[in-house]
Subunit: 231 residues, 2 copies
DNA sequence: GAGTGGTCTAGACCACAAT
DNA sequence: TTGTGGTCTAGACCACTCC
């Protein structure tokens, strides 16, 4: 069957951009022009062009025209799956050691990140995730009690903290950073790393209902873990 | 001024999802229902719902209804900007040392990654990027000659390899991985790192016109660089 | 003033799900 | 058979830019 008209138009525009026939900043035909060329209503053209603009391939300037977007900004997206997904996907068996479940007082940098006062109580869990018994990730997580009052009573051998939090606090935003770090001794031994071996540290702060809900350090053994993805 | 109707509808739906008023898998009101409720044409409702479905907040099932999407898959997106953008954005001055510009023969793992035969010629550049004079990234890049025949004659003090490649070979896909690694000695000294300091290694393979075009190792000093982003 | 994109309408026909 | 989403039309009015 014939694909929908808006898709034919999208692909026609895409092909022209990919082929370099139109260069960055070039003006593309106007909506009425494309409507005539493809013998469709303007609304149909509008959908095609609007979707390409949403994908940053085109830039629209009301009153003046539609232009080929600047060269993709070398932006790249990395997808980070949850540890248990990641392990199962590789055919491994996921298990969890619960190393710490406690209530602690917020210290300065963490308090600022989570937007609570210093000395306020926070829930802390430290878990070691294993793939087929081999340490795969050490998860240190601080949770704002208001966001998940029942957090400490969960059985983290059955449900990962992020799975639980996702359930009780629909997350709106996640900030994170990725670093290469030498672990402290206890982290190093937990991950069964040789001295001097670096870790990949994924630090994540998640927000729910407009407030910070949880902050986590995910330590991966650098010698056998990597974050991958594609665009 | 009043926001457009389709946005009012989007926000109304979003608020209901964020508040947990509708749970995963719940059916939301049909298009005709929403059109009646908001006193707009169905096309207007359709745009609102279609855009939320494109953002994976809703799932549409033709013939049966529209449903709240499954819990976000704990997927997280990292945006990686080009090194010169990154440096300028921080208010720094970007400069480049060109350390190597050469034609080499493809060795086994690289040949496989780039989809060329072993022993085939590749272009190799090694560049050290600095922010205000301080080493910020060591870039080792291999380029398939067919993708950019003029690559070696560029002035990489003026244009970064990725900027140049973006210009001559519109990229269709990028695969990458992020690792924590101890650098070899020459890399370590180039980045002015103390012995034992880890690096963040971003490895990237880019494709253009259906074929691999370039493979790069981007080494960041682990003690003063991180990759950040938010969702 | 002519041209552009941004939005919207009130219909329409279709393929497909559930019943 | 009824209801759903998927698509499309042929108009329309607006705010804006460019000349």
């Amino acid at each position: 069957m014939e694909p929908p008209a808006y898709l034919r138009i999208k692909n026609w525009l895409l092909a022209r951009i990919e082929a370099g026939e139109w260069r960055e900043g070039d003006r593309i035909p106007s909506e009425p022009e494309l409507a005539r060329r493809f013998k469709v209503a303007r609304m149909t053209v509008n959908r095609a062009v609007r979707e390409l603009a949403a994908a940053h391939l085109l830039v629209r300037a009301p009153g003046s025209g539609t232009f080929v977007a600047p060269p993709r900004h070398e932006a790249t997206l990395v997808e980070i799956r949850s540890i248990s997904d990641e392990i199962r996907r590789g055919g491994g068996v996921h298990s969890t050691d619960v190393r710490k479940v406690a209530e602690v007082r917020a210290e300065a940098p963490l308090a600022a990140e989570l937007g609570v006062a210093e000395g306020e109580p926070l829930f802390l869990t430290v878990l070691l995730h294993r793939a087929d018994g081999v340490p795969a990730q050490l998860e240190e997580r601080w949770v704002v009690p208001a966001a998940a009052p029942e957090y400490l009573t969960q059985d983290f051998a059955q449900i990962t903290p992020s799975e639980y939090l996702m359930r009780v606090a629909p997350l709106a935003r996640v900030d994170y950073r990725i670093e290469a770090r030498l672990p402290i001794e206890t982290t190093r031994t937990a991950l069964a790393l040789a001295p001097g071996e670096p870790c990949l540290l994924l630090h994540r702060c998640s927000f729910s209902r407009g407030r910070a809900a949880s902050s986590a350090n995910l330590w991966y053994p650098g010698n056998r873990y990597r974050l991958t993805g594609h665009l």
